[in-house]
Symmetry: C2
């Protein structure tokens, strides 16, 4: 039995999310159908990060346990020939039998994009949150950095299941400026061992209130420490969010330089 | 009578092009309808650059002669409230009565994006041309620069109307590397006083043959000098192309620093 890891990207606009649900297109189902088309195997695809409807990915990771003898190159090309245009496999790797895309992962990185201008840019409308009000980026950056470290993030999540820990370790919480189509955008990069449900979006919704002067960076830290969801800001729109990458302990997953060669 | 200039952006995916046609959605029609909704005036909108179906714009320019007393800020906000999400006014300026978005323009700048990787990136699929074959970017850059200057571009256009000049002055023909969504893309920037029909796309289709080693930079120059469309490469797909900006002689059009304030 082989265990194959896939690095994949998708445009979340027309998906109900990464995971299979009763109704609507999921990324998982698209992958499982393409896999069956390629190999005639019906297999469960494990995805590293759960993403909501509208959330995009450029570096999602999945794994599939398989009997197929297809080369990695054939898997990449064959899957991409069968997948719809809003999903594409970017790389294929051979992994140990006990590798699990979600359980083995120890780091997830997300980027949230904000278009803070007088009008939205149509080419980017499904990939950024358009915020018209002037934002104080320095204050936002100062608030964000308070998230770095190990904290109870209960204030910044949709749902706190009973007896489940809301403690996570945030490795990076930074703001930068990026340019796309000649447009200056605000990028908020968050990396952590794992994220709670809606965590990035609630953080962004709250940080935007800091940018608008409604909350100070100290107030933002007090919200974190208070662990009360009601004190935090609204959940930012899904479509500004992209899962950038998933990390694993050293040696577990290696995308070769020539990623698709055998 | 006032004369109002608009800087606008659109996502060309669902348009039949910039200009009104018998069938389908055009950018011109969307603008004229929004203008009528805002001002109750039925006016002709002049667009600086004609773009085909699928071609995008971030800095298209239009002008409208009007009796409206609306402030520039009201025009921007009012138009954007009425326009569909794939068009947005970015700035509004007051111009002299004889200013004409197309006739007064003396420079157009286009950017063509190429995604030269093993798989396409779904978030960018409507905005870049995905080219799988390895491309020699240095050779492409060397070919492109031969276009700078005043030349007869008959080899690089769809259509040569009788008795109409195909001489244009190319100010910039450069290749660079840009990053969007963590992805390295090839950007081809072309600026000229004016462009012939399909000129950017035929140039890009031919330069990609240079990148694939099918044509040398000297061969590319010979195609330019031969003025024969049949010697050039195929017309590159429309959706990789974006109209970036339109230029005017000094003093004709000034987007204020506070672009939408009165």
């Amino acid at each position: 039995m082989r265990n194959i890891a896939l690095r994949l990207a998708y445009d979340g606009t027309d998906f109900i999310g990464s995971q299979y649900q009763n109704q609507g297109r999921s990324v998982q189902e698209a992958l499982e159908q393409a896999w069956e088309g390629l190999t005639q195997e019906r297999r469960r695809v494990n995805l590293a990060g759960r993403t909501d409807a509208g959330v995009h990915a450029v570096g999602q990771v999945a794994n599939i346990r398989t009997e197929t003898r297809h080369s990695r190159r054939t898997i990449l090309r064959g899957m991409n020939a069968k997948l719809p245009p809003d999903v594409a496999i970017q790389a294929v790797a051979e992994v140990d039998p006990d590798f699990h895309a979600r359980h083995s992962a120890n780091r997830r990185s997300y980027r949230y994009l904000i278009d803070n201008n007088a009008a939205w840019l149509p080419n980017l409308r499904n990939y950024v949150w358009f915020v018209e009000q002037p934002l104080d980026q320095a204050a936002m950056a100062e608030a964000l950095v308070r998230l770095e470290g190990t904290h109870d993030f209960a204030a910044f999540t949709a749902l706190v299941p009973e007896q489940r820990s809301t403690v996570r370790t945030c490795y990076t919480a930074r703001l930068s400026s990026v340019t796309m189509f000649d447009r200056h955008l605000i990028a908020i990069d968050l990396a952590a061992n794992a994220f709670l449900q809606h965590m990035v979006r609630v953080i962004v919704g709250t940080v935007v209130l800091v940018g608008r002067g409604k909350i100070t960076p100290d107030g933002f830290q007090a919200i974190l420490e208070g662990r009360d969801r009601k004190a935090a800001g609204p959940t930012a729109v899904a479509h500004g969010l992209t899962l950038v990458s998933v990390g694993y302990p050293p040696g577990l997953l290696r995308w070769d330089a020539g990623e698709v060669t055998d």
